[in-house]
Symmetry: C2
Subunit: 207 residues, 2 copies
């Protein structure tokens, strides 16, 4: 039996992707890792409530309150160290992480983006804006991407992608919901399990 | 019974998309239009051979031989007029059509592009290069797009899109073939039928 890898889920809002990960852990499809910390950029995030109800430790690191990017990232790093975190899952985390931070976690930060990268990604494309842009261009197929995070916004290696149909009459909101249900909530637990398996295997083979 | 719309298929090479259109016409899935002309930018294109075997009139307009973009497009226009063409289908046509030309055929030129626009499209993205770029970025999902042609390269309104899975071990060639088989050859006849129905309806309702 391998020791489960310790996951931190970074959130900023409602936490529906966190919920998908918690559901996958309960269902056993995510079994090589356990959610050991939920870290929010905002004290108001409902995701914190979901974590507390599930008995998962929480931390709040607000960029604004911490004053500088350096103190913000130092606070995050302390929380990760305190909980022995091995994998970071960005699940709707709206604060920016610097190249200095991501370089300390090579291949250990994963993000879900609500489009088929390289379409509708990079600076300025987040949340509903992604779906607004997709509808404005009139695409018939969109989807979601899970990728490793490096110093380039949405530029890291792609792990998983899933296509989702755009339907006549879609609004940014209906499209966002369909992409979440059909792609994000499916792919993110799959990718987390995949990465946790790798981490657990590495741990076992380490001297 | 509506009069079938008259289609010109523009080609430059092997003509597999032309073949898909001819097959659809034979099968009756493309029944609101008939292929009335195959126009090639090269006298060597095997697509011309396919057309001749099927008894479809052909024309060759080579940008190089015609000297200027103006004479090139004037020659194309004469061929289209001579055959009473109502819809242009670009099926692997490698010559560029100017904004002046596309403006004379608003909503009447359709193109198939071997990616999910807006990914891997625009200047420099044609043929195998599209699939090389998709593999270089490591996407897991690609596809094809049928769109109307305007003055912006690959920038016209999208009509149809279909996703295609990228498989481990894919080369640009294997991926190109799968995108053709699963998406281009399916979408292009569908889009042609859709546009021909519109044209035939307009003709009927015209005074």
């Amino acid at each position: 039996m391998l020791t489960p890898a310790r996951i931190a889920v970074f959130v900023s809002g409602g936490g529906t992707n966190l919920q998908a990960l918690m559901d996958a852990q309960r269902a056993g499809t995510l079994h090589s890792g356990e959610i050991a910390l939920v870290l929010s950029s905002s004290p108001e995030a409902y995701a914190l409530e979901r974590a507390r109800k599930a008995g998962i430790p929480t931390a709040v690191c607000s960029r604004r309150e911490l004053g500088s990017q350096e103190s913000f990232e130092a606070a995050i790093q302390r929380a990760l160290d305190a909980h022995g975190i091995q994998l970071i899952v960005l699940a709707g985390f709206l604060s920016i992480l610097s190249g200095a931070f991501t370089a300390r976690w090579p291949g250990r930060i994963v993000n879900v983006h609500p489009s088929l990268i390289p379409a509708f990604c990079g600076q300025g494309f987040y949340g509903l804006r992604v779906h607004e842009a997709a509808l404005a261009r009139g695409v018939k197929v969109t989807g979601a991407t899970v990728h490793l995070v490096n110093e380039i916004p949405d530029g890291g290696p792609i792990l998983l992608q899933k296509a989702v149909e755009v339907l006549p009459g879609d609004t940014p909101e209906t499209l966002q919901r369909r992409v979440m249900e059909q792609a994000e909530w499916v792919l993110l637990p799959q990718a987390a399990e995949m990465l946790c398996q790798q981490i657990a295997e590495l741990e076992r083979s380490a001297p």
